[in-house]
């Protein structure tokens, strides 16, 4: 019994000493990053640019537009510069100690190589967290105090609270099943021998994908005087006395002279109209005129939702318009409702940036373990760039010829898919439209896989570092 408790004590002491060594290297790395002025440059740059950006952002001229522009550019800038800081600091601190031989004095002390690298990693992350916290705090402060600065009236403030200083969930209409129509169209094209003319050499699945997209867009298109209706089921709102927000964007077949579309909207339980039954819940009618190719939104009271959670939204392409109106796929039409607060949402957004930084730091360790500083930095930048534009890359290469497609599938596509999709985890697109960043995105959908990949890279870097000779040929 005594020996058992002694063993536990020894184990605890060892753990403390081991952590103490990692912390010693981490503290030293913080000093290195700060005193070699790597962090200072980025810090000062952000400290100067963010207030200037706040003053220069105008957006669409409204206070909401200003804030949206500032938060969007501000957070993007912070994300980019702190990413660059992470890449430079991590690769520098790993490679410089090997090239300048400080590892000779450090690793001949009782510290394991993995402790040394973990210390470096921790040090860079400490700098990241501090810079990120200060800068996002600055963005938060400027955003919160801006409305007071502009002395807006209570009505505008309420609109800001509903449409910007909030976190909303989005309902999107389910895409209709068009597979039967697509198959018929495909067969018709084959029979009429038009297939080869229209889709030269494309494999069947890519032709089907294009035709599906085309058919879905047709379902979201309204010619002059035509009505479109979307239905939502099981809508459960946290605040039944709050508001619903219909967010939409118009694409058009031909531009109207004033680039505006007149429309009429009906929001509510539209089953009551069809079946001619007594009206139980209000149906809201809204007339609007909105610019084309711009996201717009309007609010209706949340009591439009029926008791069974049913909600319908109908759009009428006004007779004044001389064009077909198309609602783009995905974000073309959404119903938003309040699901959280702005502060917590911003915090989750900053955590999304932090997840990216953890991954980049792990790439830095991996690259720095076997590459020289310039090459390691280049690799990290390539990862950052590819991860940030992976959606665009995948989309651009999705319709290749048969032969090219095979090469692409087994090379670039694999590589891009192996990297995290930073573009999907960009917090600005959530915050600008006041959408809720769900914890599930931070922890599981985005954060989890990215952190798992970071762990694999970190472990590989540690393994390479552990098995390498750290001294150079000096004979």
């Amino acid at each position: 019994m005594i020996s058992w408790s002694t063993g536990q004590r020894i184990s605890r002491t060892r753990g403390r000493v081991s952590m103490g060594k990692i912390l010693a290297v981490a503290t030293n790395t913080v000093r290195q990053v700060v005193r070699m002025r790597i962090a200072v440059v980025f810090f000062v740059l952000l400290l100067v640019i963010l207030p200037v950006l706040a003053a220069a952002s105008t957006g669409d001229g409204t206070v909401k537009g200003r804030l949206q522009t500032f938060v969007s550019y501000g957070l993007s800038l912070i994300g980019l510069l702190v990413s660059l800081l992470t890449i430079i600091a991590m690769t520098y601190t790993t490679t410089a100690d090997i090239v300048q031989c400080q590892v000779h004095t450090v690793l001949t002390k009782p510290i394991r190589r993995y402790q040394f690298i973990l210390g470096k990693f921790l040090g860079v992350m400490i700098v990241d967290v501090v810079v990120l916290a200060i800068m996002s705090g600055l963005v938060f402060g400027i955003t919160i105090y801006s409305p007071r600065l502009f002395r807006i009236d209570p009505e505008q403030m309420e609109q800001l609270n509903n449409e910007f200083f909030t976190a909303r969930n989005a309902l999107r209409p389910t895409e209709p099943d068009v597979s039967k129509e697509v198959e018929e169209l495909y067969q018709r094209l084959v029979t009429s021998q038009e297939l080869e003319q229209v889709f030269k050499g494309l494999p069947r699945e890519q032709v089907i994908a294009r035709l599906t997209q085309q058919k879905r867009l047709e379902k979201r298109a309204a010619s002059v005087g035509q009505e479109l209706m979307w239905e939502f089921h099981n809508v459960r709102l946290a605040d039944p006395n709050g508001s619903l927000f219909i967010r939409f964007k118009y694409n058009v077949s031909s531009n109207p002279i004033d680039l505006q579309i007149s429309s009429q909207w009906l929001v509510g339980d539209l089953r009551q109209l069809n079946q001619g039954v007594q009206v139980g819940t209000p149906i809201y009618r809204v007339e609007r005129k909105d610019p084309v190719r711009t996201f717009r939104e309007f609010a209706v009271p949340a009591d439009a939702v029926a008791k069974d959670g049913y909600l319908a939204v109908a759009f009428l392409n006004d007779l004044d318009n001389d064009t077909v109106v198309i609602f783009p796929l995905d974000e073309g039409l959404e119903v938003l409702y309040k699901a959280g607060g702005f502060t917590a949402n911003l915090l989750r957004g900053v955590l999304l940036i932090l997840v990216r930084l953890v991954f980049l730091a792990a790439v830095g360790v991996f690259a720095g373990s076997f590459l020289s500083f310039p090459v390691a930095i280049l690799l990290c930048l390539l990862v950052l760039f590819t991860g940030s534009t992976s959606g665009f890359i995948l989309e651009s290469f999705s319709f290749l010829g048969k032969n090219l497609s095979v090469i692409y599938d087994y090379t670039l596509k694999l590589l891009v898919q192996a990297l995290p999709r930073f573009d999907l985890m960009n917090p600005t697109k959530f915050l600008v439209s006041a959408r809720l960043i769900p914890w599930s995105l931070v922890l599981w959908q985005g954060g989890g896989p990215i952190l798992a990949k970071a762990l694999v890279l970190l472990a590989t870097g540690l393994w390479v570092f552990r098995s390498s000779e750290l001294a150079r040929t000096t004979v």
């Binding site: 000493v17 103490g20 060594k21 912390l23 010693a24 290297v25 503290t27 030293n28 000093r31 290195q32 005193r35 070699m36 300048q100 031989c101 400080q102 590892v103 000779h104 004095t105 450090v106 690793l107 001949t108 002390k109 009782p110 510290i111 394991r112 000779e469 750290l470 001294a471 040929t473 000096t474 004979v475």
Partner: protein, 357 residues
Amino acid sequence: MQYAVQTIGLTKIFNDWWGRPKVRAVEELNLTIRYNEVFGLLGPNGSGKSTTLKLLLGLLYPTKGRAIVLGGDGDDPKINRRIGYLPEESYLYRYLNPRETLDFYGRLFGLPSKIRRERTEALLEMVGLKAVANRPIGTFSKGMARRIGLAQALINDPDLLILDEPTSGLDPIGTKQIKDLIRTLASRRKTIILCSHLLADVEDVCDRIAILYGGRIRAEGPVKELLQRSDRIQISTGPVSQQTIEQIRQLLAQEAGQVDVSSPMERLESFFMRIVSEAQARAQPTSGAISTTQIGSFLAGQPSGDLLERLTESVEQPQPATEQSATRPIETPTPVKQEILDQLVYRPEDQQDKGQG
């Protein structure tokens, strides 16, 4: 465990990019270094000395053979805990100051903060950099950085001290101090490996040496045995008259045939030491290291107390290592007295007093 360090057929071959052998840095090295021995590893540039040390410490991996250090592997933290290593260049963090540097290395040994603080201050005093302890090392001269390099190697009071070219870039005072330190540590039964191509330094302090050339040992043994010339006799005396010299010369000439009689020259090292000591005694200002010829208390194996007093005692003790090491008389440096040591310690207020006066 008979040996502090043992290598068995240790071989290191550096390959080129294609994996072909390019340089045979160390070849079939069988080295044995006993506990409590001051061992000198000699050789010209590129003879494989530093490579051998890096193989011992696990910074390089052997192509063949094995190195056993303190009964284990040189890259095992349990073994590293007992080793102090000064590389051929100091390899310190330029942005840290000496105090932060020593604290950092102390933390790697898991030393409690109180002990780290005590040792840091003692070592800073020993290497004469207390006055510049808050200046970044990047602004130091090579010699000053070397002193901090030495201090970091001693922060754990090591059982095995590995010094690669320890006197490189040091002024004669620093050189002497390192030799004094080696003697003090040797008297505390520590094992020291000294790697150098400065033969006089090695000759002064080492018990045994090995001479490397082309990665192989060409000669190995006790310094005394290797250097002693049994076919020559040297006699030293105090001042004697010319007549007595002539009589001795005739007497010796009858037996030995050839006799050479002359007055011994003072060694440049001791002459230099004397001049600098006089300058320091006059407290002339300098922005460099203030060498005190002191040894850190914990290294001299003494409990904490009045540091200066103990240092004086340690300096005044006779140094047996000098007696065994030469075929010619070696000048023992004049012991530094308490009052001189008092003057050697730099105090900014002294300068102010003089300035005001």
